[in-house]
């Protein structure tokens, strides 16, 4: 595939992610709305109306279009360097077209790069797969307000009475949801990474956001943990935007990694209700978006 063509596909992927809320997320919001009343219901109603208008007018659902996180599964014939160049150009073009807000700020000088391209921006994760030509790109636009709600626990943690066991993990999840209140634009989704090191634990928590909301964790213990914690967190009745109500979260997704004997990390990431992720698959030159 020539780089120009790839850039056009990536631009469309960015537009879709920013402007067209994925069907599983919209379904979850609709179901939540139907079970709520009062201000919680009207708040969810506004969110759904906004998602519909964003889709119709190709306008970003939220002005904070977040950080661009690309996960790329590619065959041998796709070179990461060429992909990254095309993606950077697509991000800059998407900023010009107002699909993205200029969101890359130098932390020392405070200068905004103006086009979403900067050190470490966008972020790329490459995975080479066996077959030659195929390309699968998953893109997440991870908003900053909800990013501030993320937290990494080092167990044991006496402040929340969390030991190095499943009960301790549950206490971390509950505490993270309590701390988040409505700040991450509830009802969002918690991604939880258990184990790993500091970096991979957070990574595991973030990667959960690529899962579909209505999927089922193949590990039955984790599936049970997800269901239990979603139910318990909703009992906090923080509600949409923290206004009170049953719908405090849309989902809890958990992944694990083997840990070092000395370390026990539980990382919790939060994504807002404007939960933006889309994928692009190119097979034999044919592009499909989901």
């Amino acid at each position: 595939m020539n780089p120009e063509e790839l850039k056009e596909h990536l631009l469309e992927l960015i537009r879709l992610a920013a402007c067209d809320l994925a069907p599983d997320v919209e379904r979850a919001l609709t179901q939540a709305r139907d079970h709520e009343e009062g201000r919680a219901r009207s708040t969810l109603d506004w969110m759904l109306k906004n998602a519909a208008e964003a889709r119709e007018s190709s306008t970003p659902i939220c002005q904070d279009t977040g950080s661009l996180i690309f996960y790329v599964d590619h065959g041998r014939d796709i070179r990461p360097g060429i992909f990254m160049q095309a993606a950077r150009e697509a991000a800059a073009r998407a900023t010009e077209l107002s699909y993205l807000r200029p969101n890359a700020v130098d932390p020392i000088t405070g200068k905004n790069s103006g086009n979403n391209v900067g050190r470490g921006s966008p972020y790329f994760h490459f995975n080479e797969v066996d077959d030659g030509k195929s390309l699968k790109v998953r893109l997440m636009l991870k908003g900053g307000g909800s990013e501030n709600c993320g937290v990494q626990y080092t167990l044991p943690d006496a402040s929340i009475k969390a030991g190095r066991d499943l009960s301790g993990v549950k206490r971390c999840i509950l505490d993270a949801a309590l701390r988040a209140q409505g700040f991450g634009c509830a009802p969002g989704v918690l991604g939880v990474g258990i184990g790993g090191d500091r970096m991979t634990s957070y990574m595991e928590s973030k990667e959960q956001f690529f899962r579909k909301l209505d999927d089922h964790n193949p590990d039955s213990m984790l599936a049970e943990l997800e269901d239990e914690m979603l139910k318990k967190v909703c009992e906090l009745e923080i509600g949409p935007m923290g206004f009170g109500g049953r719908t405090t979260l849309l989902g809890v997704k958990v992944g694990i990694r083997h840990r070092l004997p000395a370390c026990y990390f539980v990382s919790v990431s939060y994504t807002c209700w404007a939960y933006r992720r889309r994928s692009l698959e190119i097979v034999n030159g044919q592009a499909g978006y989901a």
């Binding site: 969110m47 501030n148 929340i160 634009c185 318990k232």
Partner: protein, 193 residues
């Protein structure tokens, strides 16, 4: 729905209570971290007449420019708590009647609302398209070069901008209430885990 026209009197603002849904019309400015720091450290002459008896909106928009000037494309609220160190001083100095944002603010701002007659209004986070459409005109922008698009002070004329009063001028805060109740529940649930 209670209609609020800017500028607004202290008397009208004092009538508002936590939970009231309002529709705001008139001219206001956007302000986030850089603007707040500036308004506290210097005399913000370019906006002081607009925000006297007026409001600030915690927002870093997506904008577009054409022959007619600037337009707001997507403009939901940003998290307000980063402005907590500044907001009480800004409210007192510029005689604000309200700030619009998301997530609520802390004790200092709540006290300033009570003392000076102001409210905190919560817009729905992520409601970027609907809120941008309530921005009818963008008459000016200040500090665009220096602060960048998200942080600049955009002067905007809004019509029927929807928000909910979550902190009023009588010391009530919905955020405090939800935090308190959810903390108690979390304590009880935690014992069962």
């Amino acid at each position: 729905m209670i209609e609020i026209k800017l500028p607004v009197s202290e008397e009208d603002i004092r009538k508002l209570k936590v939970g009231d849904e309002v529709a705001i019309s008139g001219v206001m400015i956007t302000a986030r971290d850089a603007a707040h720091k500036y308004m506290v450290e210097q005399e913000a002459g370019e906006v002081k007449d607009i925000i006297k008896d007026g409001m600030l909106y915690h927002c870093g928009p997506i904008v577009k420019k054409d022959d007619q000037g600037w337009h707001f494309v997507a403009a939901g609220p940003t998290t307000s708590k980063s402005e907590e160190p500044y907001e009480a001083a800004v409210t007192a100095r510029y005689k604000l009647r309200g700030v619009i944002g998301k997530g609520g603010m802390g004790e200092q701002t709540l006290a300033a609302c009570r003392e000076h007659g102001a409210v905190y209004l919560h817009a729905i986070g992520g409601l970027a398209v609907i809120l941008a459409r309530s921005v009818k005109r963008v008459p000016a922008v200040h500090k665009l070069e220096e602060f960048g698009v998200p942080e600049a002070m955009w002067v905007i004329e809004v019509e029927s901008f929807p928000a909910v009063v979550t902190m009023d001028s009588h010391g009530n805060s919905l955020h405090k209430e939800v935090l308190q109740k959810s903390t108690e529940k979390a304590k009880a649930i935690s014992e069962t885990l």
